[in-house]
């Protein structure tokens, strides 16, 4: 509860939230992040903006990325300010996110 007057009845964890989505995970990572390029980035907008929370900063200043629960939305490459840091393609045909109630 963030305040007594606020009715936060369903604060679900991020894992629970993501578990509501159907992902057909392909073998090929469709997005590849070049951690070397990320090292020089100071904004790291992808880390907070990605709605699936797939970008994690690493101790050595790089970025760790996991493609498996990706919405294929495009937010990360749109907000990225380092050319070449994110190589973005769609998952192979039939794979990736499957929305039922979009």
């Amino acid at each position: 509860m963030s305040s007594p007057t606020v009715d936060r009845w369903d604060d679900l964890s991020f894992e629970e939230r993501m578990a509501t989505v159907d992902f057909r995970v392909g073998e090929r990572p469709h997005i590849v992040v070049d951690a070397e390029v990320c090292r020089s980035c100071t904004t790291r907008a992808c880390v907070t903006a990605c709605p699936a929370d797939l970008f994690s900063p690493t101790a050595d200043g790089g970025i760790l990325f996991n493609y498996e629960q990706c919405f294929e939305c495009g937010t990360c490459y749109m907000v990225c300010n380092r050319e070449g840091a994110i190589s973005w393609t769609y998952p192979d045909g039939g794979y990736g996110v499957v929305f039922r109630h979009g």
Partner: protein, 437 residues
């Protein structure tokens, strides 16, 4: 249909509303057309923000309302201005929208898009799912002559390619029609679909069976340019926030936190009490409007729908699926004529641009070209919702024994509290009248 293996009159990429409409128009004109969909079924990659306005379907099926997979027919349309503790609503209900041809409907895209793709297939289009168009095929002169796919031996040759591959359209990017990345003209929508029993929805939102509500909201995004929405489906409620990408990146807030804020708002939370999350989703929206739209054609190539930036985000009107269908139909018709004439050059395909300029598709966008800038402006986003709420609170608070203040004084007081000068208010009223008048 004259059809040689591997060669078609047209390839349409993306079986969303634009692509299916384009394929339908081509098939009806007797052209051979392949409709490619990268998802396992049409609609599986698609998310929208609330309402499909159906009159554009008149052209597709005369009594479409008898067969379209609808969730609810929208009879209530609200606009809500929010602060952390207040909400001011303009709420409209009409029975005129409760009977054919209706006005707006809520749908699940997995159902709606699949239905529309089925119409294209019925007309003779060949739907191929689970197939990604990975690039354009071009001849030496740079003309588009087909697409490469991720199937083995997957090159598809065609006289015309219609790229309806959505907001990230890599085909339009490859053709040089869209910039590689353009955060300034895109928003991120995140949405939750929440399960509630049908009768509970109807009771809470004051609806009769089968009727629906759509609420658009402003002031619920911690100052990040954007807004929120809530709409009813048969036995779920969809709630989401729309966030300007540049603003989201600068604020360094996680999108689901803003959605959680909205769901916990004292004026919203009671609507959702006891509901369980059925699906979380996210999608980009091209919100640049008319002035950010790309060129729509190239030699052998047309673009339609979100790929062409055709979502109308004009506050009072928030539409997209109808524009996708309208542009898709026009692109399909223009492509069919070009193929029949044996001339698929950009000069010939420019007929598409002329047709959408004449129809609502670009006429609405052109008329409302100033709306995105106005709606995402600092004052409208950060100050006006709070100003309006404070004014309403001042008007409706009975503070006996203090005598009532005049409304003019309340307005000046609310404006001062939020750092808005009355001449700014007047100037914005004029801008508003210019954009929407």
């Amino acid at each position: 249909m004259a059809e040689t293996p591997g060669r078609f009159d047209a390839v349409v990429v993306g079986a969303g509303p634009a692509g299916s409409a384009a394929a339908l128009a081509l098939a009806r004109a007797g052209r051979s057309v392949v409709l490619l969909e990268r998802g396992p079924f049409p609609g599986s990659k698609n998310v929208y923000g609330g309402v499909v306005y159906g009159r554009v379907l008149d052209e597709i099926a005369p009594r479409w309302w008898e067969e379209v997979p609808v969730q609810r027919w929208v009879v209530r349309r609200s606009t809500m201005l929010l602060t952390g503790t207040q909400a001011l609503s303009v709420d409209f209900h009409t029975e005129a929208w409760a009977a054919p041809p209706y006005n707006g409907m809520t749908v699940y895209r997995a159902d709606f898009d699949a239905w529309l793709a089925g119409k294209a297939v019925d007309a003779g289009a060949r739907l191929v799912t689970a197939t990604v168009a990975t690039g354009l095929l071009r001849d030496r002169a740079g003309r588009v002559v087909g697409v490469r796919t991720d199937r083995p031996d997957g090159d598809l040759h065609a006289q015309v390619v219609i790229a309806c591959d959505g907001v990230n359209s890599f085909l339009a990017k490859e053709a040089g029609l869209l910039p590689r990345a353009d955060a300034a003209h895109h928003t991120l929508g995140v949405k939750e679909v929440l399960a509630l029993p049908r009768e509970v929805i109807e009771e809470r939102f004051g609806l009769r069976a089968g009727q629906g509500l759509d609420i658009e909201m402003l002031g619920c995004t911690r100052g990040i340019p954007g807004g929120g929405f809530l709409y009813t489906n048969a036995d779920t409620v969809s709630v989401g926030v729309i966030l300007d990408l540049t603003g989201l990146a600068a604020a360094a807030v996680r999108p689901e936190e803003l959605l959680a804020d909205l769901k916990a708002h004292p004026a919203v939370a009671p609507y959702l009490r006891g509901a369980t999350v059925k699906e979380y989703s996210a999608h980009l929206i091209p919100e640049g409007g008319y002035d950010a739209m790309p060129r729509l054609h190239h030699d052998g190539l047309l673009i339609a729908g979100d790929a062409a930036g055709m979502t109308l985000a004009a506050g009072i009107w928030v539409e997209g699926v109808n524009f996708a269908i309208g542009s898709g139909l026009a692109a399909g018709r223009a492509a069919a004529v070009a193929v029949a004439d044996g001339d698929v050059s950009r000069r010939s395909l420019a007929a598409y641009r002329r047709e959408v300029e004449r129809s609502f598709v670009l006429a609405d966008h052109k008329r409302l070209r100033g709306a995105p800038r106005l709606l995402l402006s600092e004052r409208l986003q950060r100050h006006y919702p709070a100003l309006a709420c404070d004014l309403a609170e001042g008007v409706f608070t009975v503070d006996n024994p203090t005598p009532k203040p005049g409304i003019w004084r309340l307005l000046r007081r609310a404006a001062a509290r939020h750092g808005v000068r009355l001449r700014h208010l007047a100037a914005d009223a004029v801008r508003f009248a210019r954009v929407y008048g």
